[in-house]
Amino acid sequence: MTSNSSLEQAIDKILEKTEEEIVSDLKNSKTTSIQFLDDSLPKLEQEYDQIISNGKKEADKIEKQITGSSDLEARNKQLNIVEESIGKVFTKALEQIANAERSGDYSNLIKSLLEESTKILGTTEVIVFTNSKDRETVQSALSQFSGAELSSETIECLGGVKVKSKDGAMTFDNTLDARIERLKPLIRKDIATQFGVSN
């Protein structure tokens, strides 16, 4: 009987001690865990901020990509439409020039073109080329330029003259086509402005 009670007492003591140890361990673990959590909170917050900031960066990047490429696409379409319209205006204008009447003003223009050409070449000893439509006008204007001859060959152009020195070394293209080509960038700008496109 006595031995049983002392055994029970011993067991109780062990249990009590074990319980105390377990409770103490649990307390310690809780404290460590809380400490751990407290310590990792700023780190977590930092990581959270980092993830949010990276996400924002990525979103900004994608937004830039999308807006950039759609803006460009829209602008390019507009450029093509403007160019197409400019082309139409040009074609129409060239048609009108080709069909224009060769009146008195036109013979004055031919004279000034011949004057300009011979001045630039530095001689009137030249051969003049023109289209079949302007041959008569050019022939009559040539009387004022001694040594200048009208070529029997005709050239394809809207109007005006192409002048070549008799030795063949120098040529000056003063046809309307060449003049329009040289001024084309400025004319394009003027037409575009009429369409409301400005830089």
């Binding site: 960066k57 990047k61 830039k64 990509q65 999308i66 807006t67 950039g68 490429s69 803006d71 460009l72 602008r75 390019n76 450029l79 093509n80 403007v82 160019e83 300009e116 630039i120 070449l121 530095g122 063949g168 070394a169 120098m170 040529t171 000056f172 293209d173 003063n174 060449a178 003049r179 040289r182 001024l183 960038p185 400025l186 394009r188 700008k189 575009a192 496109v197 830089n199």
Partner: protein, 461 residues
């Protein structure tokens, strides 16, 4: 621009390399634009290099292949080469001569500007002092680029300079201002794949909208390369000084430009200078580099980042050597770092931005920027010495502080220098990493930073 055209001459005396010599020429002018017409009616552009005794020497940009003395005609246009400019050039891709390469029409010009530009009046120049953020830590943190500066990148063959160039073009921005920012990118003699990479990279990142690209590929005639940087700078100057934008001009690869210059010089039988380059290489390069800057009373700026690959990694080669005399510092890419797989492989000990001190600090980046940068420079330099020592005595023979410096070197290369090609770091992020590096050292080793900054940013124990 006038309707008057030029005279066409048909007496070609000689064709020599990229040059055509025209006989019986009167009234031609130096630098005048020339249209060369071949037998087949093909037209090429050129410019007058020399006139006298009834002869004109014409440099043909598109090369003389296929030209013959008989039947070739040269038309002297009566004006110098001009670039049509307007705001519309933004987002466009041009070839090396400034002609559209993107399948779109010619831009409707606001102005036509002589591509040779005019040197900036030194008295009108404003000292550059505003920060440009490239998003590349090593540049922003330690070799800072400022608006109006010319800061070349010295690289070597096969190294990652093109990746760096494209990354800067995509990411560069001005902070703390609402002013417009634009990038003019001139690729000179690059491979087709590289040119495509630049175009795609800007297009996909959405940066093409604020960029202008000039692409002269390796298979384009070498002579075109003389013109490419000039048309690019003409556009940049227009955007900067007429439209008030801050423009970053990236020119890659200037070595190809110098090679083209050498080719013309050899064809003209000029007395060669070092390594066969013409004696006027310095003067010629300065006509390009000196087009960077800011002007008093004007809002915009032109900043230049020319990139050149040093033949045999030789920094004493005439091209980097003469470039270094003109520019305001240099960013040097290191072969060792490149071999280790570090990107961008910038050797900071050989790199320097002379204008950095004026573009950083309170009001532009952060008050501690200059000091933290100096401290890291010093620490990395010491780390290199310690590494060399470790190579002889082994790690076991190093002191505790030596090991800390070795650690600094490793962290510097792995966390600060190394960056993804699409990683855009803010200056704040860059400075945070610099402090992380310095925090590896004990406080008593930090001698270049004021205590108040150490108290604020030091993360060590």
């Amino acid at each position: 621009m006038s309707a008057e055209g030029g005279v066409q001459y048909s007496k070609i005396a000689e064709i020599k390399g990229p040059l055509v010599i025209v006989d019986d020429v009167s009234n031609a002018a130096f630098d005048e634009l020339v249209e060369i017409e071949t037998n087949e009616g093909e037209r090429r552009l050129g410019k007058v290099l020399e006139v006298g005794n009834g002869k004109a020497i014409v440099q043909v940009f598109e090369g003389t292949t296929g030209l013959s003395i008989s039947g070739t005609k040269a038309k002297f246009v009566g004006k110098v080469m001009e670039m049509p400019v307007s705001k519309e050039v933004l987002g466009r891709v041009f070839d090396g001569l400034g002609r559209p390469k993107d399948g779109l029409p010619d831009p409707i010009a606001d102005k036509f500007i002589d591509i040779n530009g005019e040197p900036m009046n030194p008295e009108q120049r404003e000292y550059p002092k505003d920060f440009i953020q490239t998003g590349v830590s090593v540049i922003d943190g330690m070799i800072t680029l400022v608006r109006g500066q010319k800061l070349p990148i010295f690289s070597g063959s096969g190294m990652s300079h093109n990746l760096v160039a494209a990354q800067i073009a995509r990411q560069a921005s001005v902070i703390g201002t609402q002013d417009d920012f634009a990038v003019v990118f001139a690729a000179i003699g690059v491979q087709y794949s590289e040119a495509e990479y630049f175009r795609r990279s800007l297009e996909e990142s959405g940066a093409l909208k604020r960029s202008v690209l000039f692409l002269n590929t390796a298979d384009d005639p070498a002579i075109e390369r003389i013109i490419t940087p000039r048309v690019a700078l003409t556009v940049a100057e227009y955007l900067a000084f007429e439209l008030g934008m801050h423009v970053l001009v990236i020119l890659t690869d200037m070595t190809n430009y110098a090679e083209a210059l050498r080719e013309i010089s050899a064809a003209r039988e000029e007395v060669p200078g070092r390594k066969g380059y013409p004696g006027y290489l310095y003067t010629d390069l300065s006509t390009i580099y000196e087009r960077a800057g800011k002007l008093n009373g004007r809002k915009g700026s032109v900043t230049q980042v020319p990139i050149l690959s040093m033949p045999s990694d030789d920094i004493t080669h005439p091209i980097p050597d003469l470039t270094g005399y003109i520019t305001e510092g240099q960013v040097v890419l290191g072969r060792d770092l490149f071999r280790q797989g570090v990107y961008p492989p910038v050797n900071i000990l050989m790199s320097l931005s002379r204008l950095m001190k004026d573009g950083i600090g309170e009001g532009s980046t952060r008050a501690d920027h200059g000091e933290i940068s100096n401290q890291v420079y010093d620490a990395y330099s010491r780390a290199q010495e310690v590494r060399a020592l470790a190579g002889i005595v082994g790690k076991a023979g190093l002191t505790e502080i030596d090991l800390k410096y070795m650690d600094v070197g490793d962290v510097f290369e792995k966390e600060f220098l190394t960056q993804a090609t699409d990683e855009n770091r803010t200056i704040e992020e860059t400075l945070t990493i610099l402090w992380k590096i310095v925090s590896k050292l004990p406080k008593n080793e930090i001698t270049k930073i004021k205590d108040k900054f150490i108290d604020q940013y030091y993360q060590g124990k």
